[in-house]
Amino acid sequence: MPFFWQGKIVDPRNDEFAEHLSLQRFRTIENAASEEVSIGWVTPADPTGDNFSTEDLDGGVGTWLRLRIDKKSMPMKWLQIHRDAAEKARGKKLSAKERRELKDDLMDQLLPRVLPTITLVDALLFEERKTVLLFATSKSAKEAFTKLFFETFSLQLEPGDPLQAGLNSDLSNDDKHALERVNPIRWPNTTLEGGPSKPVTVPRPVIQKAPEPKDEALEGAEDAVVEESVVTDDVIAADEPQAAVEEPVAEATAQEPEPTEIESLENEA
């Protein structure tokens, strides 16, 4: 999963880079008596977070970053067993207050004995391309990584997209310029009699900007700013008739092959 940043980062070949990482190094919660999460940098050579050296960060083609996430949580089964036992001894259900007190007592007793779960997330940083490749796809890993990266280097990571991926590739400048201005192709709907038969380019979708915070003096003025779509010279007006009503795809055929499950999901606008 590629991420990009804008601005200048400390040179990964300098000791200063490792120093930045060490300021946000991983700190253990092995003996902690409360439920918590610890997130910090370690190196592939030393998962404790105690040592950072420039050599340990050398990933060949890029700089190897490793994030460690430890999470300590109370096993709910334990809580349930102790609550059931207390209720059996009392002969009646515990009140909400009593349940809370029991939980707090158990946390104090048991959490120091609970070992945290450990997650290691690797990434390669390419300084010249201002790119980080994260070797994880979960939302929590992405969020933890981008947050720690910002805290370490004061640089905001932005996820990749078709435009950034093209602009950060070795395409020619002409191609990059064309990519910035490219418009979508509309493929013909050939299920309609007399419908279009050739692909045409159409204007790019309009990007809705979030409304600006309202100024009292301006209240009652425009609610939202809508950025005009970019329509460039290469847009060819569709001279063929457009589809008036498009049938839902799933209804367009009566055949339903046995092994394939079909779902029609509401489009998340």
């Binding site: 493929w187 050939t190 790019r204 795809v249």
Partner: protein, 172 residues
């Protein structure tokens, strides 16, 4: 989000065109690509695909399990001019094989399955390095395929050549 990073909104359709182009190439040319540097990779669409809705009011259609690309529903969607929004791909290079779901508007990967660890991996450090190399290779392959697509897509004659060929395939 900064002005410079609005590409998923303004250019998400490029990712959708890319994914649909991969399907087109797979079906019409066998799915083997020679990348820059002579690397040969193979791709195939696996058991999950989602068609993009053409407008915000339309429903999105997902086909999963079995061979969704062979279904009548998938062919109808193509004939109606729908692009792919998501698809699970099989990618292979030599003996290594990956599976990953690509979300077209963001070009992000999910559900990634890496090749088996190499036999020569003896330590945890070896395995970590091997997995990192496999992640990097997967990213390089997707990037290289995307670059190939862009080279074709951004060509001034694309609409009368590649796009028409793809439209004919979609209309089949």
């Amino acid at each position: 989000m900064s002005q410079a990073f609005q590409g998923a909104e303004s250019h998400g359709f490029v990712g959708e065109e890319f994914l649909t182009w991969l399907w087109f190439k797979w079906e019409t040319e066998g799915g083997e690509f020679t990348l820059t540097g002579g690397r040969i990779v193979g791709i195939a669409i696996d058991d999950f695909l989602t068609f993009a809705a053409q407008t915000e009011d339309e429903t999105e259609q997902t086909l999963r399990r079995g061979l969704p690309t062979r279904t009548a529903e998938a062919r109808t969607a193509l004939r109606q001019g729908h692009r792919l929004r998501k698809a699970r791909l099989l990618l292979a290079e030599g003996e290594r094989q990956w599976t990953a779901t690509i979300d077209a508007p963001t070009l992000s990967l999910s559900g990634v399955k890496l090749p088996e660890d190499a036999e020569e991996c003896e330590s945890e450090m070896d395995r970590t390095a091997d997995r990192a190399a496999n992640w990097l290779a997967l990213h390089e392959i997707v990037q290289a395929l995307y670059r190939m697509f862009l080279k074709e897509r951004l060509h001034p004659d694309y609409q009368s050549t590649g796009a028409e060929a793809q439209a004919n395939w979609m209309a089949r």
